[in-house]
């Protein structure tokens, strides 16, 4: 163990610089997110992830945000275990009819102000699962969505860009300057 720890100390961090916020995400947030809510949330956000029907591909890439290369917590973003502790709900998947009520209950259990980030191609409108008897649709068909991060699945880099926009969105001044 000592050797592994020592090597980690001498090699320096693997963590890569955070990317610039995604412009499209900034534009979407400018329309959806209330400015006072942004001010109250500040730059430190707690995220509760909910799989509402995904194939688990998005979960794998969301997990990767915690690894040494992306190290999400350095940005003030962290995943929490309860919706009661969350500012942001990160929802993946087409919402299945079986998960619809569970998603609604989780949303209602999250205190205001709160943001919803829909992750993945399916979360937009059901994606390739749209139209099935078992699928209710995209995330916005069940709860209001503030930001979509697209991709099948979005890479950790793309997730990070979207989340950076969310942080910038939390800072009203930056949002105004970027969104023009």
């Amino acid at each position: 163990m000592r050797k592994t720890l020592l090597e980690s100390l001498t090699h320096g961090p693997l963590t890569e610089p955070a990317p610039a916020p995604d412009e499209a995400a900034l534009a979407e947030l400018a329309k959806t997110v209330d400015r006072t809510a942004r001010a109250r949330l500040g730059r430190s956000l707690s995220i509760r992830q909910i799989d509402a029907g995904s194939c688990n591909g998005c979960e794998l890439e969301i997990h990767a945000l915690n690894n040494a290369f992306y190290d999400l917590e350095r940005l003030g973003l962290r995943f929490v275990a309860s919706p009661r502790h969350a500012d942001v709900l990160m929802v993946t998947g087409p919402v299945t009819k079986n998960m619809r009520e569970a998603l609604l209950r989780t949303y209602n259990a999250t205190p205001d102000p709160k943001w919803v980030v829909a992750v993945g191609a399916c979360a937009v409108d059901g994606g390739i699962f749209g139209g099935s008897y078992a699928v209710a649709g995209g995330v916005r068909d069940v709860v209001p969505v503030d930001l979509h991060i697209r991709g099948c699945p979005p890479s950790p880099g793309e997730l990070l860009k979207g989340l950076m926009a969310l942080l910038d969105g939390a800072n009203g001044a930056t949002l105004t300057s970027k969104a023009g």
């Binding site: 163990m1 050797k3 592994t4 720890l5 693997l14 992830q49 909910i50 799989d51 509402a52 029907g53 995904s54 194939c55 688990n56 591909g57 998005c58 979960e59 794998l60 890439e61 969301i62 997990h63 990767a64 915690n66 690894n67 040494a68 290369f69 995943f79 275990a81 309860s82 919706p83 998947g93 087409p94 299945t96 009819k97 079986n98 998960m99 619809r100 009520e101 569970a102 989780t106 390739i128 699962f129 139209g131 099935s132 008897y133 078992a134 699928v135 099948c152 699945p153 890479s155």
Partner: protein, 501 residues
């Protein structure tokens, strides 16, 4: 055909490949149930195809596979589960989706239909929606017992499922799973889909096994259409399958240790997983390698810089991984959590035909790559590690040994990678059927495919290894403490989406 010698059947379906499918009456169906119950063969799958039910069987000693089909009279068929418990959930799912009832089934409760769909029996004779009724969990009675309900929404970045624990103090007396939350109706979306659309759906049955699903789907389609895949494509497929196995095993080994609060292993394994995904991205332009395996071959060439990155990856893993194994093996506090925790008995692993590390940690040596020796594994040298203990520790060690095997396989593939085409044209205007079986990181994926005369899907069934592993988790946790459940669960790492479909 030895497997079918003991099963009375009438005709053999002509266009079913590569293994035979035969039509049976009640007597043949019951003979098959006897073979299963007496341990002479294993259940590979049981699925509906209204008004028929199909059952896939495996003779473990010879590697023979056969599918038997029974036409249901008045929507009923003799229950397999009545004598062979691994079929219980499959029969419940068939009833929910097709309305076909297993006579004398030990458990008639719904399974995938949780009462939220607007339709009943969506793949059979559709009816008005079922009224949601309270689900009756199995009883556990005794003084001082209490229940702990968990899920469907879990406290982490995990798929949804419900676990109902009955505990006596810290000890689990009974765990009952309730799944189906992420049921997306994939098999109904498959009906009438083109081969391309269907391959995409199959690739998204379980994202962590997207390569394995695409592999098994392509095998089924190619067997049905009698298409031969170019040798180069076969090698590239195996390269992707082994990269996927590596990435998942790294992730699992780290996550199991993390559930025992040993985060150093988690961090180190996370680095190896990320490097593997980056190498995959460099090779095939997608970190999870989605939609690269297609019927007929592969959809894109290996990028020249990708192979170099994979070689770098092999070097790094060979440098770092042995030290991590040593760390795992020499940390007493970690061993204390994993050794003798969550034991799956060899008898249960055999009876359920448990695949992957769950089976192999409990003496069941089955590996689809070895037993069916599909190309290019027939030309590659590898071992199938097997252990006896059946505990969390054994499931970790199977993964460790498989990482070593995958490293060797990847090396062999890169050294022997032949030049040439990567895709054979596919086209079909005949009704035909195929069965595919590929080894995913967690076990064998079965795909059964029936094509119509326009080359579209008439029916497709996907069976994840999790179907035969989830029930064993219920057995493995019994008598363990509640706090060890995350550890046991992670050591199984069953798929929710692959199971719920």
């Amino acid at each position: 055909m030895a497997l079918l010698d003991g099963i009375t059947h009438s005709e053999t379906v002509k266009a079913h490949r590569p293994w035979p499918r035969v039509i049976v009456a009640d007597d043949g169906w019951r003979q098959a149930i006897d073979l299963l119950a007496d341990g002479h063969c294993s259940l590979l799958g049981l699925w509906g195809d209204a008004p028929e039910v199909h059952m896939a069987l495996l003779d473990e000693t010879s590697g023979d596979v056969a599918v038997i089909s029974l036409s249901c009279k008045a929507g009923r068929y003799p229950s397999v589960a009545a004598r062979h418990p691994p079929a219980i959930r499959l029969e419940r799912a068939i009833c929910d989706l097709f309305g076909l009832k297993a006579v004398d089934t030990p458990d008639p409760r719904p399974w995938l239909d949780l009462g939220f769909w607007n339709v009943r029996h969506p793949l059979g004779n559709k009816g008005p929606a079922r009224k949601p009724t309270p689900y009756k969990f199995l009883p556990a009675e005794g003084e001082g017992l209490h229940q702990i309900p968990v899920g469907p929404v879990h406290a982490g970045i995990i798929e949804p499922g419900h676990f109902r624990f009955t505990a006596n103090g810290e000890h689990v007396v009974r765990l009952e799973q309730r799944l189906g939350w992420v049921h997306k109706g994939i098999e109904s979306l498959m009906n009438g889909a083109t081969l391309v659309e269907a391959a995409k759906l199959a690739s998204r049955a379980s994202g962590d096994s997207t390569v394995a699903y695409a592999y098994a789907f392509a095998q089924a389609a190619e067997a049905a259409m009698q298409v031969k895949v170019p040798t180069r494509a076969a090698y590239l497929r195996a390269l992707m399958a082994e990269l996927e196995r590596l990435a998942n095993h790294f992730g699992d080994i780290g996550a199991i240790c993390n559930d025992a609060s040993f985060s150093l292993m988690y961090a180190q394994c996370g680095i190896l997983r990320e490097r593997t995904l980056r190498a995959a991205d460099a090779c095939f332009g997608h970190r999870l390698m989605m939609d690269i395996i297609v019927p007929g071959g592969v959809s894109r060439e290996l990028a020249p810089e990708g192979a170099a990155q994979v070689k770098d990856l092999l070097g790094e893993v060979r440098h770092v991984f042995p030290r991590l194994i040593e760390l795992y093996d020499n940390t007493a506090s970690l061993q204390d959590r994993t050794v003798t925790t969550g034991i799956v008995t060899q008898e249960l692993a055999r009876q359920f035909g448990a695949g992957g590390y769950v089976g192999r940690a409990s003496r069941r040596a089955f590996d689809a790559r070895r037993v069916f020796a599909y190309a290019p594994y027939d030309r590659l040298s590898f071992e199938v590690p097997v252990l006896d203990a059946g505990d969390v520790n054994a499931r970790v060690w199977i993964r460790i040994r498989e990482v070593e095997q995958s490293l060797s396989l990847i090396e062999q593939i890169l050294n022997a990678l032949p030049k040439g085409e990567i895709k054979t044209a596919t086209g079909n205007n005949k009704v035909c059927e195929g069965l595919g079986l590929a080894e995913a990181f967690r076990g064998d994926v079965l795909v059964w495919l029936k094509l119509d005369n326009k080359g579209c899907v008439a029916r497709c069934h996907l069976r994840d290894a999790s179907w035969f592993q989830w029930p064993l988790l219920e057995a493995a946790i019994e008598g363990n403490i509640v706090a060890d459940f995350p550890l046991c669960n992670k050591s199984f790492n069953c798929s929710y989406s692959g199971h719920d479909l």
